[in-house]
């Protein structure tokens, strides 16, 4: 703890020094701030305003009609379903993987870490195509799937699969550094005192990683809701059945229904803002807990 304290103080002193150095060149500061604000305005604020403006252009009644449309509600439910399932699966998987990697020594550990990162580097479209080739009619697995009547591609399981795939590094990646920094001393001590493994996990590991875990869940949920590429390949665009919110926006746009397209976009935007707020709260609490 003491070491952490000094580390915490050091950059503060450093930063005041830097501040003093640049105090003379006020112009640079103003230019940099203006540029950043301008950039943010053009890239973020303006599009957001456009979405809101276009959504409500025909009045609140029309907006309500657009967002309560059967197909849109179906898309919202499917998006939530895929997100929730992806978060659950990835939490379990992320905990297992991060635990295994940080607490045990085994052959091929580096390889496992690299594999976990794969979905970040593979383009989502390719991911979608891989699943079409693995589980579609071309695949030898298809006849077995057909026998048990379990369709994956162009059905809801495919959508969930795609969502899980693109989001699976998020949680393990957040927990891993925390677990690694913490080491295995405390767990070993607890084990020596006779604690069972679940107790160790609950009383020692979990308290350490919980903020990282929650943060990972938030990121995972955010990414899952917005996924377009992989889901688009696997969806088949069956309206009201295999269409998620981002796909619904594309479909409405193609139907020349611009106002509804923006209205559905606004749902996604609201979800994103909620996630952003949750994230800030998590970060704030997490930092305060860290300082205690």
């Amino acid at each position: 703890m003491a070491a952490e304290k000094t580390e915490r103080v050091m950059p503060r002193e450093g930063s005041t020094e830097i501040h003093a150095d640049t105090k003379g060149s006020k112009a640079v500061r103003i230019i940099l701030i203006t540029l950043s604000v301008l950039f943010l305005f053009i890239m973020l604020v303006m599009p957001l305003i456009t979405v809101i403006y276009e959504s409500f252009r025909k009045g609140f009644g029309e907006y309500l009609k657009a967002v309560t449309d059967d197909e849109t509600v179906g898309a919202l439910l499917l998006t939530l379903e895929a997100t929730v399932i992806a978060v659950i699966i990835n939490t379990v998987f992320g905990l297992f993987a991060a635990w295994a990697i940080s607490k045990f020594r085994f052959r091929g550990k580096k390889f496992l870490v690299t594999l976990i990162d794969l979905p970040v580097t593979v383009s989502p479209i390719i991911a979608g195509l891989i699943f079409v080739l693995t589980f579609g009619r071309q695949s030898f697995l298809y006849s077995y799937l057909e026998e048990i009547d379990f369709m994956i591609v162009y059905a809801v399981p495919g959508i969930i699969l795609a969502t899980v795939f693109v989001t699976f590094p998020f949680i393990s990646r957040e927990i891993l550094p925390v677990l690694e920094a913490q080491g295995t001393d405390e767990e070993e001590a607890a084990a020596l005192m006779g604690a069972r493994s679940f107790t160790i996990f609950r009383k020692i590991t979990l308290p350490h990683i919980k903020w990282a875990l929650i943060y990972g869940i938030v990121l995972c949920a955010a990414r899952a809701m917005g996924e377009f590429g992989a889901v688009s390949v696997l969806s088949g665009h069956l309206r009201g059945q295999t269409v998620t919110l981002p796909l619904q926006v594309e479909i409405l746009f193609g139907d020349n229904k611009y106002m509804p397209a923006f209205a559905v976009s606004s749902i996604l935007m609201i979800m994103a803002v909620v996630i952003l707020i949750v994230r800030s709260i998590v970060e704030f609490i997490g930092r305060r807990k860290g300082e205690e």
């Binding site: 439910l77 499917l78 939530l80 379903e81 929730v84 399932i85 659950i88 079409v132 589980f135 579609g136 009619r137 071309q138 298809y142 369709m151 591609v153 162009y154 059905a155 609950r202 009383k203 979990l206 308290p207 919980k210 088949g236 665009h237 069956l238 309206r239 009201g240 059945q241 479909i251 746009f253 193609g254 139907d255 020349n256």
Partner: protein, 343 residues
Amino acid sequence: MKSRFLRLTALSLALVTAMVTAASCAKAEGADTKSYSIVNVSYDPTRELYAEYNEAFKKHWEAEHDSKVEINQSHGGSGKQALEVANGNPADVVTLALEYDVKAVQDAGLIDEGWVNEFQLDSSPYTSTIVFLVRKGNPKNIKDWGDLARDGVGVITPNPKTSGGARWNHLAAWAWAQREYNNDESKIIDYIKKLYGNVLVLDSGARGATNSFVENKQGDVLLAWENEAFLSLKEYPNDYEIVTPSISILAQPSVAVVDKVVDKNGTREVATEYLNYLYSEEAQRIAGKNFYRPSNEKILAEFADTFDLKINLVTINDFGGWDEAFKKHFADGGLFDQIYKQD
């Protein structure tokens, strides 16, 4: 504090479970009355047509049968849609832009041979053709296919690799050049090369191309399905006009029951009736209203004011049928690939 965290976790888990069950319950609703659900995988510009037709068909079916029917639509570039069905998209019926795409589904083993004769008129209940959509007043003075190869004319057409409409566009241009250059193949290819050299955006489907031209204001001329051109005109009557070229092609979109899927789902009767009813007077009128040319002569006559019925049309048979046309023009390494690569 720790228990609060656990409680929080338990609470959110409970919430999640409730949400998922609610979602699945919503889907299972209405299972007790006998009801069919069929999937119609179609191409891009038929969105409005089938939105209207499905309502009419539901009424028709429920008036004659003691069961309900629900129709799920999927739209996209015709070639892409055919590929998805071949890969397992559970379509009970396909209503695609051209015979060749339905044949791709047949080749995947999903549709039995002889589907072309299963419904009247080669299983194409409505037809269309290819026209030019230009900006109001026709500022670039585009009158015929030859004008598309002029310098400084921006052309919008979708990609013939993925879009059915784009294949009709390509063949219509070819037909004009054949007549213009007396079948001199090298001159025809030169012309087609210049035409594609003028293409600004090559979208994957017809609707994407229309949006590029109409919404994003790209290019001077859109090579479009007649129905798609009329639809744009209806939305923006003051911004566009239609130019009918001296020669075009009779585009025959094809429909078929996907045998493997309907046998598995037990939906053959309703799927067959769904396509059959497309030939009814009511459906033909809906097609006409959505700017497709009804195949029923009597109904077509009702729309004589809308369509230019004197237009000079070649058919796919002038190209030796779809198999031959596809192999020559659109297969991998075919004419389109050669022409487009050299650009």
